[in-house]
């Protein structure tokens, strides 16, 4: 009896062993990194976590391949360490910037550092924050690097978070309510700003934000235009310490 059990256990082990297959393909080991910068100011493009992408097509694999999207970080940098060494088409994609050209046939061999330049739709400038007791008052103005054919400006909204990773994907929902936003809903040339200088005409006073005492908040202001992706152009992050 013991023998039979023994034989069967050996046999089943042997059978299971046949389930193992060695993957004989090399793993993706190429690294692709870089920065998305604002071609007007030369500074990093300000966005939120994953609110803009670098879209790549592995054209050496086949014609018309399915694209892959590499998310861009808050400071405009991106990094993907698990790609195949191959030839790619690349394009900054899906963010709050003017449409970009697809750059073809870029060779990625083991590692590639490449920067992309984009033109943001809008800047949030002259951000002024004033804390009265525990209430935060924010003012800002808009500026457009390119005014011709700028899509309609939709709304301006504050983003508040307890961490420095503040943006549309990381915020305290209470402050995302509609009562804290300003609806602009107008074209740039219908009084929002100047067509030649690109300066916004209005200084916007955002609705007062009641904060909780004893905490540190990270706050930034975002503005959207009515393009395909409707992502936000952000101001710099302001750190607010509520006493």
């Amino acid at each position: 009896m013991k023998k039979i059990v023994f034989i069967f256990s050996i046999l089943s082990l042997a059978m299971l062993a046949s389930c193992m297959k060695t993957d004989n393909y090399p793993e993706p080991d190429a690294t692709f990194s870089g920065n998305v910068t604002d071609s007007v100011t030369g500074k990093p493009f300000l966005t939120g976590q994953g609110e803009a992408h670098i879209r790549i097509w592995e054209v050496s694999y086949k014609e018309n391949p399915t694209p892959q999207d590499i998310p861009v970080k808050q400071d405009g940098s991106f990094n993907d360490t698990k790609l195949f060494s191959a030839t790619y088409d690349m394009q900054p994609y899906g963010g709050a910037f003017w449409p970009t050209q697809r750059q073809s046939a870029i060779a990625l061999h083991t590692s590639l550092q490449k920067d992309f330049k984009v033109v943001p739709y809008l800047y949030v400038v002259d951000v002024n924050s004033q804390l009265v007791d525990t209430t935060l008052f924010l003012t800002c103005r808009l500026k457009a690097p390119v005014t011709e054919n700028l899509p309609r400006v939709l709304d301006i909204r504050p983003f508040v978070s307890l961490t420095q990773f503040v943006g549309a994907g990381s915020r305290i929902d209470e402050y995302a309510l509609d009562k804290y936003k300003i609806d602009v809903n107008n074209n740039w040339w219908d009084g929002v700003g100047d067509m030649t200088t690109g300066e916004g005409t209005t200084t916007y006073n955002l609705p007062a934000l009641p904060l909780k005492p004893g905490r540190t908040f990270y706050v930034r202001i975002g503005v959207r235009v009515e393009d395909t992706y409707r992502q936000y152009n952000y101001s710099d992050i302001v750190k607010i310490q509520v006493p």
């Binding site: 995302a176 309510l177 395909t228 992706y229 409707r230």
Partner: protein
Amino acid sequence: MKTIKYLLLIGTMMFTISSCHKLTLEPKGILDDAALLGNATGVETYLAGVYMNLPIEDFSYYVDQGFKNGNNDWDASKSWLMSVDGEAVGWPGGIDGAGGFGYWPYDQIRRINTMIENFPNYKSDYSGDSYNAFLGEAHFLRAFYYFALVKRYGGVPIIESVQSPTADPTTLAVPRSTELDVYKFIQSDLQFAMDNMAATSEPGRANKFVAAALMSRAMLYAATIARYGSYTASSPDQAAKAGYVGIPANEAANFFTASYDAANFFDTQNGGYELVGENAADKEQNYVDLFLNDNSKENILIKQYSTTSNLFYHSYDGSVSPAGDFSDWPGSEVYPSLESVELFQRLPIENTDGTPRRFDNRNQLLQGLEPRLLATVYLSGMTLRGTAFDIRRGFYRTYNGTMADAQDGVSSAPINATSNRTIATSRYQTDPALGGGAVAGKHGMWGGVENNTLTGFFIRKYVNYKASQVQAAGNSSYQSWIVFRYAEVLLNKAEAAYELGKKQEAYDLIARIRNRAGATVWTPKGAPAAIYVINGQTVDENLQFIRDERGRELMFENHRWWDLRRWRVADKVLNQAKLHGLMPYLVLDQNKYIFIREYNTDGKTYTFDVRYYYEPIPAGEINKNPSLIQNPIY
């Protein structure tokens, strides 16, 4: 011994020689073309399989999983279209499933093509019109499949003959046709069906008026996409450049005319369909019964379920009313939004000075509401299966302020401070201020999607009030799904007529619909203001009212999602939208009820991306057929 030898010899010879007989007989276990296409019963059997898989968005349609064939789909209500298009709030956490579920029914289209190709060989077996009727039915069914494809993807490959698996692979990889060509193909198939089919049919099967109903719907879709869609051949996107998405604007008028003519077909050919109950005394009851009567003269095509076969059933009654008092299981999962309710009329819950109106009891709100609204939605105080709906969010100790002071119900509003307002966070929560009574009503609302309302409303349309509480359970509902009804044809006609400039005719049709609904008389504006400007085209107040009438009349019938898409307003209507509910509160110091407009208790945000105007071509199909070009922005 010798005998055995002979016997064996004879036996072997019998076997071996008999094998010389050639087996050229047709196998009896397989139904071939002649058996299926050579007689009426055979064709009906053949087409039954096609009907079975017909893409009808019924009670068991999942946004993210697609069509089911009436089996154990009790959780379909967690993925209904109405809970992603803003009509109602349910499980989906926003616009889930807008990317589709990879629908690609070319196997079904091949079945129809096989029939269309081989049927002429058996023409002599049929007498009179029955041959034409069957051929017309096949064309109708093919158009139905292509319409389900084109409204999702835009242009798709048109396959109108049976492909041979041994053909040259390059000829099998058919590229997409333009969106315009697919709609024209649907138009020609349906025209053939309308010309050849009979005027009547048994319930559940098509006739020439069913084809006309699909024609009026499909052509309206094509026309609005042509007028309001923004993709043209000069768009930078590959798929738009090739015309796979987008229809040239100059085709809009043709398609509107085609839709209008198809609706007119009902009059010129004496369809015998009616807007049921235009003179009914009880408009509310008439409208309720409309959806529960298989023999109604308003039904153009229904999809039946069967109590006898134990194969075809759905779970509607168990999924829209809360378990316990009204249903058995799974319990209610989806609730009409206040936005839907106030599409009918602004509810009289405010005084002129902005303060919430005081009610002695919650039933008072029901007085004077549009009968059609009451037949579509259950409000607190209405009765189903012998029990009244009891809905309450909580209580205010006192309410000195306006509706706006409640600030959509957020807890940071001063009037909503916990010292003044108490809301239920669990089902059996009690409070000393109520003498130990329950804070919430019996059927809501204490948060959480199941079995208590998120919005203060429950769905009434299609609810089979004659079923008992035990019968109202998962997998045991059998009311038919109405695929086309005459009211939709009239609404199609009204929209097409208005877009074609026949405004008075559109107004008259809307007046008919509203009269049957028991609604107030609408006076169109002489100088209507613009509501939207889409693709350079103005949508004025009167057109918006006609569209809203469609939203009211066809609410919860799986039209809204597709309508918002084809009007190209979905990204405006569902732009970071947070849906509201109507929350009944008891005001303690006055012992009266007030109703507050608030965010629904689930607090989701709905945002429609521009890319959702087309679903992505399934990646698996692109892998198989590299000539398929993906839709924009995917």
